[in-house]
Subunit: 225 residues, 2 copies
């Protein structure tokens, strides 16, 4: 099935294509070309064709891609047709926002339990998900193994939680804690690390254009971009 190693960036772009396909589908488009697929994405049509070619031939030469068909193919490639159960650890501010975030459910990604140390939260439902005592995480994973976990605890607790999850058989982790965590090589991690993103943003901002220490302002009220 996989003749060659798929570049990580190709998989990221598949998500982008999927987004565009869904948009075109809502608008009623039947067919889309590789150029249209990538117009707003800073990607060339050739790149999209190359990316898709890793997985097969989904288009019609001289025509383009049938929108619904390509969407289904990409969904299948990404594995979105399967249900994925997950647990969340840390039902604080961020954890609560995540439990109530509709984006998870939309992708067959279901949070089946949350864990928190705060006894006041235990027993409640947040976003429809029951909150359990942090101490029960290991035993829960033994009874009901899940492959995916979301870490939303404070940074200093993150590594201990991660170790516990890995010991419990979790093999993919979405980490929101601002820490670099040590994992065995087989564990997939996505670190949604805001501090890192902020640092990247600041770096580029600090170098972009002739930006002085203060934002350039036309003192008559207009803003100089």
């Amino acid at each position: 099935m996989r003749e060659k190693r798929i570049p990580v960036e190709t998989v990221r772009r598949l998500s982008l294509y999927l987004r565009t396909l869904r948009l075109f589908e809502r608008r009623g488009a039947r067919v889309i070309s590789s150029a249209e697929l990538t117009r707003h994405l800073d990607i060339t049509g050739a790149q999209a064709r190359r990316d898709l070619a890793y997985f097969g031939s989904f288009g019609q030469p001289g025509v383009g891609y049938y929108v619904g068909h390509l969407r289904e193919k990409i969904e299948a490639i990404l594995g979105l047709h399967r249900n994925w159960e997950a647990v969340l650890v840390g039902a604080g501010k961020l954890g609560t926002a995540l439990l109530e975030y509709p984006g998870f459910r939309r992708y067959n990604f279901r949070l089946v339990a949350a864990f928190d140390r705060d006894r006041g939260k235990v027993g409640r439902l947040i976003g429809g998900v029951p909150v359990r005592p942090a101490g029960e995480l290991s035993s829960f994973l033994r009874r009901q193994p899940v492959k995916i976990a979301v870490i939303a605890v404070p940074g200093r607790a993150a590594q201990a939680v991660a170790d516990c999850l890995v010991a419990g058989g979790v093999s993919a982790i979405l980490n929101f804690a601002p820490r670099y965590l040590d994992f065995p090589a087989h564990v997939q991690i996505k670190s949604l690390d805001m501090a890192m993103e902020i640092e990247g943003l600041i770096y580029h901002l600090a170098r972009s254009g002739p930006a002085a220490e203060e934002p350039p302002v036309d003192r008559d009220g207009g803003v100089v971009i």
Copy 2:
């Protein structure tokens, strides 16, 4: 100053090095080698030396890098010594969590105002940040220009907000809305798009190992990793 074009990934890695340096500093280490700097990061020492070489020579041959010195240098490279004011749009669940998130403040990244359509929220302070009516965004940016904005509105409202921000002179955006947004080329964007991260995670999970449709479980209670 910049002889060559710096790879984007190099900047990401600078953030990682910074994290490790801070950890070593807390532990009281004076000196760190490129190998130690990268041990837990799936990066080779050579890679770190190469990355740092884009910006200068910060180490001592035969010795390593002085921890505090290198940390300061990287902070300066990233622009973390400057204060950056920012606005946040959308004080819903996620927006509120972000306003209360200490990570922003820690990096001289200060949220000076939040905007929301909900009159019930207007006038309140969330995380110490005043919430203003969404309609005042443009006039606020005219009075008090900022370079950075955080978008935390629902997907369907995101493009309109983005257009308004760009018109108001914002040149860097941290986007949490699950949408691909159209921006002029000079605007820096970081899309912390959970749906996309989830899709990437699922893709890799679906292909990793011989994972069947159901998680492989030893029915006696143990989990087969």
